[in-house]
Amino acid sequence: MTISSTDFDFVRNYVKSKSAITLEAGKEYLVETRLSSIIVSEGLKDISDLVIKMKERADSPLHARVLDAMTTNETFFFRDITPFEVLKKEVIPDLLSRRSPNGPLNIWCAASSSGQEPYTISMVIADNFPSLKTPGCLTFIASDISQQMLAKAKSGLYTQLEVNRGLPAALLVKHFTKVGLDWQIKDEIKRMVDYRMINLSTTFPSLPQMDIIFIRNVLIYFEVEVKKKILEQIRKVMKPDAYLFLGGSETTFNLDDNFERCDLNKTVAYRLKKPK
């Protein structure tokens, strides 16, 4: 299946208008791969057929599926490991020492996709800071632009392949039950997370001031001006001593001078510069 330049432009313009995510020239293969299953399930011949159908009606369920397919990215439990070790050993202990052993802490995991990252954080908290599970001690918001991904995350149901990836076996047996061929995360972990639809490229909804923000491996998909706008909005929902975690190839450098890099045992967090 090959995509014509006209159809590629249509898809990338649509994705950009809805999510601000940029699909540069050369990403034709990505569009072809990501949309192939929609073409099959809709009984269409090719991408050209799909584009014709999208043009027939604005904002149809098909549009939503295309947007989901183009904005969903790889995720797995304990991705990169070190941010979660640092969270356990340094970041949460530091924040609790400034507040009280029971918090309260506010955490936001943005672009949370199918939920592996927020549930990783939930497991770290449940196993190491159980007092934060007390009602009122933790507000933990996870967000994504895709309703389909939010539904999957809320279900807490994962395939064998998904739980094989990155999740220590000891945590699998502790926090999941097997349901048929799939694995269900237990309610006590699931109910720690409040899922919301947030489009990072638009004005953020009202959010509490955060102690910890994870927004990893998503800024790379935006143009510089959008990255700046997102970081500016993130800054406004960070408490003065909050920690911001970005993906390994992402930085605030040259985008927002109000952040400073904080090296933490093989990983990096960003914090707000103190006012002079």
């Binding site: 220590p168 076996a169 097997k178 061929l181």
Partner: protein
């Protein structure tokens, strides 16, 4: 000095796939077709850094292998990762209680193996990226 792995599986094709992955990650690799043969190799060559062990094998299965190995303190530092089609929770719990450090349910991908080796502290993110 490279890390040393022993791959224990009665299916030659699985041993070949795992060996290729481990060699690409910088391990030196030995192979055994059952637990008994693996114990003989370990006695002869000394403990490996990691053993990748199938569950169902003739002569001595993977679970019996773990039980034998964990009786001997010389293997305390050796990590054991089960790589098996057994996917029931009770099996997984039994393997972990017997002394397995990690558990992979077949089918597996290289990413899965890499992530589990990283969890066990045998490789780091840089090794993993370099091997891709």
């Amino acid at each position: 000095m490279s890390l040393h792995a022993i791959i224990i599986d009665d299916a030659r094709s699985v041993r070949m796939i795992l060996k290729k992955m481990m060699v690409e990650l910088g391990f030196t690799v030995e192979e055994a077709e059952d637990g008994k043969k693996a114990l003989e190799i370990l006695v002869q060559n000394g403990p490996a850094d990691v053993a990748l062990v199938d569950w169902n094998m003739p002569v001595m299965n993977g679970f019996e292998f773990i039980q034998e190995v964990r009786k001997q303190s010389i293997y305390d530092e050796m990590k054991i990762m089960m790589v098996t089609t057994e996917s029931e929770l009770v099996r997984m719990i039994a393997a972990l209680e017997a002394g397995a450090n990690e558990y992979v349910m077949k089918p597996f991908t290289k990413d899965i193996i890499v992530e589990k080796l990283t969890i066990m502290g045998l490789i780091n993110n840089e090794n993993a990226s370099a091997a891709h």
